[in-house]
């Protein structure tokens, strides 16, 4: 197994190997600690929004509450229901937990993107990225991994051999694949603007606020991505998968002890990863905030470290938004959810993608900007009118059939 790693072939170079090991360790610990803090953060913020105190006993401000809960779960009896498919039942937590970590590997966690440094920092005399791996198709990898996470949920529900988990998992799979399509298509515009699929390349292209993809692609893809990501994470208002009032706990109803903890960790890990991915793709990742040539510089901190601080600050904003959404919005109905995914988000992301493509090509080929904009807006308007007509027709048909919704 070791022989296939080129780093271990021939002359053994210790420094790069140590750097890779350090990175694996650091990214792993960062992931776990971030997840634990996220659980605490969510409970604390939501209790604040609901006029409660929230966890405050374990450690300062209740910071160690997650750890306490985790230790408690260690000592709980692990029950595998009689009717379950034992092998798949044991496999499913792994399928959920491992992908949650894997997508963290491609996110630039820091680095110096200023002055044409391109995110490189020097550790022990070696230039490297503050990123575990930088494959040229990083974003594609993240999308693929998030699709694998569906298996964990689907198999967990199916293997339980029980009704609630089965219902929850079938719902989850249908929901996740529906929004996966919108999620992927909304990224098309980001690739148009940056011209690369690598996460570090995408970050390097967003040097100032005007270049941030959220501005450069128009705000629409970001909004679509945010909605689709929330649905992909099965977080409120799209948490039909584990809708407590109807499905008990959804796909993980039959799980107990540490197996349940793995699902729980994976869920929060995914939230952190998705926020980091949003920041990377649309908000410049570890790039400092800068506008009009003025860079907001954190004093006394070396440039190499500053990126990490910026990234965490930006990620925190999105984690807060997720908690905020949960505290504010009621749950969707299933047919509303599917309608939103297929009839609004997918056509909108495709339409916006073609619009931006035409705009960029027009600028590149020197077409008349007014004509391009005029034609684009006309086409967009026509498509919108057609979509509205389709909605109207389908609503009328439903009414004729006496359907309630």
């Amino acid at each position: 197994m070791f022989a296939i790693d080129p780093m271990l072939n021939g002359e053994l170079l210790w420094t790069p190997l140590v750097i890779v090991l350090l990175k694996v360790l650091a990214v792993f610990v960062t992931g776990l600690v971030a997840t634990m803090l996220m659980v605490w953060f969510e409970r604390k913020v939501i209790s604040g929004m609901q006029n409660r105190i929230g966890p405050n006993k374990a450690g300062p401000f209740g910071l160690l509450q997650t750890l306490a809960d985790g230790i408690k779960l260690f000592f709980k009896e692990d029950l595998i229901p009689e009717r379950s498919d034992r092998f798949v039942f044991k496999l499913a937590p792994f399928l959920s937990f491992v992908p949650a970590f894997l997508s963290f590997a491609i996110i630039p966690l820091g680095g110096d993107f200023r002055d044409g440094n391109n995110g490189m920092v020097t550790w022990f005399g070696h230039t490297t990225r503050v990123q575990l791996a930088d494959p040229p198709v990083g974003v594609l990898f993240a999308l693929a991994i998030s699709a694998i996470a569906v298996y964990g949920i689907m198999l967990a529900g199916w293997s339980s051999g029980s009704k609630y988990p089965l219902l929850g998992s079938v719902r989850a799979s249908a929901q996740m694949v529906s929004y996966e399509a919108a999620l992927g298509l909304s990224l098309g515009t980001v690739f148009l603007v940056t011209g690369t699929l690598s996460t570090s390349g995408i970050v390097a292209a967003q040097s100032s606020i005007g270049n941030w993809n959220v501005v450069a692609t128009g705000v629409v893809p970001f909004v679509i991505f945010l909605i689709a990501a929330t649905a992909e994470l099965n977080r409120p208002p799209f948490d039909l998968v584990e809708a407590e009032q109807e499905l008990v706990g959804g796909f993980n109803t039959e799980y107990s002890s540490i197996r349940f903890a793995l699902f729980y960790l994976a869920e929060f890990m995914n939230t952190v990863t998705m926020s980091a991915l949003i920041v990377t793709l649309f908000f410049g990742g570890p790039q400092p905030i800068s506008f009009g040539g003025i860079v907001l510089d954190i004093p006394l901190v070396p440039n190499g470290l500053e990126g990490t601080i910026w990234l965490f600050a930006k990620v925190l904003v999105f984690l807060y938004i997720y908690v905020w959404l949960r505290a504010t919005l009621p749950r969707f109905r299933y047919d509303q959810l599917m309608d939103l995914g297929w009839k609004v988000l997918i056509p909108a992301s495709l339409g916006w993608f073609m619009l931006i493509a035409a705009q960029r090509l027009g600028r590149d080929q020197g077409w008349n900007t007014f004509v391009v904009t005029g034609v684009s807006v006309a086409v967009l308007g026509a498509s919108y009118a057609l979509l509205q007509a389709a909605f109207k027709v389908s609503a009328k048909q439903r009414e004729a059939e006496g359907s309630m919704f």
Partner: protein, 121 residues
């Protein structure tokens, strides 16, 4: 081995580390946790009453159709992404071609909609 595969290999090591950690957690827990199973505990959960019938009940075929539709749009992404990174290279011809491609795909979506596949209730 190229640097392209090199970064994926790092991810594989990382994945192995995650598998190991999950395995370690399960192993430690299997040592310290009690195990006193009885028939009642191993019943599948149905809100406190005895489970009725099979656990693997039938589910709507609609879920399956959505999975099929998803495959279409995910494969589409495979075509769109490489083109998106090379927009300027293929120029107007590429744009028109992609427009036709997207139009045909949307026709498929409209067809599914018209057939009532996207209807839930």
């Amino acid at each position: 081995m190229s640097t392209f595969l090199r970064s994926f290999l790092t991810i594989v090591w990382f994945g192995l580390a995650a598998v190991l950690i999950a395995g370690l957690l399960l192993w430690v827990s299997s040592i310290v946790r009690p195990s006193k199973p009885n028939r009642e505990k191993l019943l599948s959960y149905e809100s406190g009453v005895d489970p009725i019938g099979e656990g693997w009940s039938q589910s709507q075929v609609r879920y399956y159709i959505f999975a099929l539709l998803f495959v279409i749009f995910d494969v589409e992404a495979v075509f769109i992404f490489p083109w998106a990174t090379q927009l300027e290279r293929y120029g107007t011809f590429g744009l028109v071609e992609m427009g036709i491609f997207v139009f045909i795909l949307l026709l498929g979506l409209v067809y599914a909609w018209r057939k009532g596949v996207l209807r839930w209730v």
